[in-house]
């Protein structure tokens, strides 16, 4: 899955940063490309190559981004989106990890639950929002549920396959010492699966933010998703793009935080 690709990418990035003096130069190239694209945007808008109310010059967007900070509204919107994303993410993490381990180790439960999970998994999240409004309303319950639903699958499947891939010697060794099942799961299976779990959690980290924003765009009245739709209908594309900018920065920051935590808490990552 993409989780694994992403993980490979991280390792490559980490090692490239450590590797030698060229790393800094390569980063500078990246920023250069960004700067060229942005000036191209600015030019296309100012010179009238693209005539649209939804193509403001980049400089207007940056100005709007600074003005937004002063108003504080954008931070409140961001906070309510992050709050929903966080609650849904935590719920999905607990459910995904527990079910992943239990289902991988217990055949009866696996046969009972796996078909249901496999059927729900491919459903596109936006498609289930309208019927869910009927049961969960349009407020937090709906959005948190959707975030949890979307975040659950990468966490669950990574955990599930992670458990299945554990070296049997580990388990047999523990068995030899007559370790109880609970202890076996907590002290052997869980730590051995942690790298796989971390991969799933990381995929879910970016996903939970995306889905939280998406759910706010369809229903409700707060959060960044709603703000994006609202400013679009108010013909304020500068505010809209500025909000997108904050969203991108948030996603980036979340990813960095995750990597920092991962390095600290799963030091044997990639070494199992």
């Amino acid at each position: 899955m993409s989780a694994m690709d992403g993980l490979a990418g991280v390792r490559e990035k980490r090692s490239s940063r450590r590797s030698g003096p060229n790393g800094m130069d390569r980063r500078a190239y990246g920023f250069l490309l960004l700067a060229v694209l942005l000036s191209f945007w600015e030019l296309s808008s100012r010179a009238g190559w693209i005539v649209s109310a939804y193509w403001p010059p980049v400089s207007h967007i940056f100005a709007a981004a600074i003005a937004q900070l002063a108003g504080g509204e954008i931070l409140l919107a961001l906070a309510s989106t992050l709050r929903r994303a966080a609650i849904g993410y935590i719920a999905a993490s607990v459910a995904g990890i527990v079910l992943g381990i239990v289902l991988a180790r217990n055949r009866v439960l696996r046969y009972g639950l796996l078909p249901l999970i496999e059927i729900v998994r491919p459903m596109p999240t936006p498609a289930v929002i309208p019927p869910l409004i009927l049961f969960l309303g349009v407020d937090d319950a709906l959005k948190i549920f959707i975030v949890a639903l979307a975040s659950f699958f990468p966490i669950f499947s990574n955990t599930f396959t992670g458990v299945a891939a554990i070296d049997d010697t580990l388990i047999q060794t523990a068995r030899t010492f007559r370790t109880s099942t609970v202890r076996l799961l907590a002290r052997v299976v869980f730590p051995a699966t942690l790298p796989a779990i971390a991969a799933g959690l990381r995929t879910a980290t970016s996903l939970c933010l995306v889905v939280a924003v998406l759910s706010e765009m369809i229903a409700g009245s707060s959060g960044i998703g709603y703000y994006l739709v609202e400013t679009q209908y108010a013909m304020r594309p500068d505010l809209m793009y500025a909000a997108v900018l904050y969203l991108a920065a948030t996603g980036y920051a979340l990813n960095r935080i995750f990597l920092a935590l991962e390095a600290r808490m799963v030091p044997w990552m990639g070494r199992s």
């Binding site: 649209s52 369809i218 108010a234 920092a260």
Partner: protein
């Protein structure tokens, strides 16, 4: 660098923990309303701002939903007590067996001079009527809704066959771009987008579906459920009375700068932008004969299989 980012993250989590609840008002009955943040609901906000709801003991809690998509499902699911929505959605909901009741009028189109909606086409496209659009495409915000219905009716009224026109879903904010880039041949636009599009040149208004097809059409209404109406009849009565005061204030202040500031407040649109569009009057009562005409159009477009009992759907309160 990494440490700084961790701190940034922790600071964000701190923000997450901020309490979001505003202080509750004492002794007021709360009424939850789903709205669309457009000019249509200005009388409601006028009534809130002028304290008309407070006077009758109600506290209005509005939940905007940009497309209005959450309105009726949220109403039926119990998230809202009242929803502002268009006539077609209400009749479709009734057709599906949902217990919806129209309790107050919202918007209608009586004066063509104040009708800023319209079908737009590129000025050099030669499109003038529905006949010219056969084999071509019209942008509507959603299929099977009020915009789609009246775009079809307009095509028919101007000599075209709606079945031979392709209706493409394009959100209102993107219609002008779609039209200029020739992704569609025409678009049914509403203010402020129609006003801004017309100003820049290159596009022409070729028709006004509401005014051309059905002058006086009741476009929007406030809707509740029969269950809520039976359980809290006094609340609904108070709501309608206070809303009517809001409508009266609105109609008396159509050219008042204060009204535009009010609209700007809940739509985030600039007052300068709002000044470009004429502000239409708002109806005090729903016109059941107009709703009946809309129902006929819906039957012709196969949105409804048979007439509905409008006397049951439009509550006497609204009339």
């Amino acid at each position: 660098m990494r440490k700084a980012l961790v701190w940034l993250g922790l600071a964000m989590m701190g923000l997450v923990a901020l309490p979001a609840a505003p202080a509750p008002a004492a002794d007021l009955e709360k009424v939850r309303i789903s709205i669309i943040p457009i000019g249509d609901v200005a009388p409601l906000f006028a009534a809130v701002q002028n304290g008309y709801f407070r006077e009758v003991g109600l506290e209005i809690d509005t939940t905007p939903s940009a497309g209005g998509a959450a309105g009726i499902p949220g109403l039926v699911g119990g998230s809202f007590d009242i929803a502002y929505g268009n006539v077609v959605s209400a009749l479709l909901a009734a057709q599906q067996g949902l217990d919806v009741k129209v309790i107050a009028a919202g918007t209608n189109v009586t004066d063509p001079k104040l009708d800023a909606t319209g079908i737009f086409a590129k000025s050099d496209s030669g499109i003038k009527s529905g006949k010219d659009l056969e084999g071509k495409s019209i942008a509507v915000n959603t299929r099977n809704n009020v915009i789609w219905l009246y775009a079809r009716a307009w095509v028919k009224a101007t000599g075209g066959d709606p079945e031979r026109v392709t209706f493409k879903e394009v959100p209102f904010p993107q219609m002008e771009d779609a039209l200029r880039q020739s992704r569609v041949d025409a678009a049914f636009m509403v203010p402020p987008f129609s006003i801004v599009a017309a100003q820049k040149g290159g596009l022409s208004k070729v028709g006004m579906p509401y005014s051309d097809v059905q002058p006086g059409v009741d476009v929007g209404q406030y809707i509740t459920t029969g269950k809520l109406l039976a359980a809290r009849p006094d609340t609904v009565k108070k709501f309608v009375a206070a809303l009517r005061k809001g409508i009266e204030w609105y109609n008396a202040n159509l050219t008042n700068e204060a009204l535009l500031t009010l609209i700007s407040g809940y739509t985030k649109a600039d007052v300068a932008l709002l000044k470009l569009a004429p502000v239409p009057t708002a109806p005090v009562r729903s016109d059941i004969s107009q709703i009946r005409k809309t129902m006929q159009l819906m039957i012709e477009s196969k949105l409804l299989p048979a007439p509905l009992d409008l006397d049951k759907i439009v509550d006497p309160l609204a009339r």
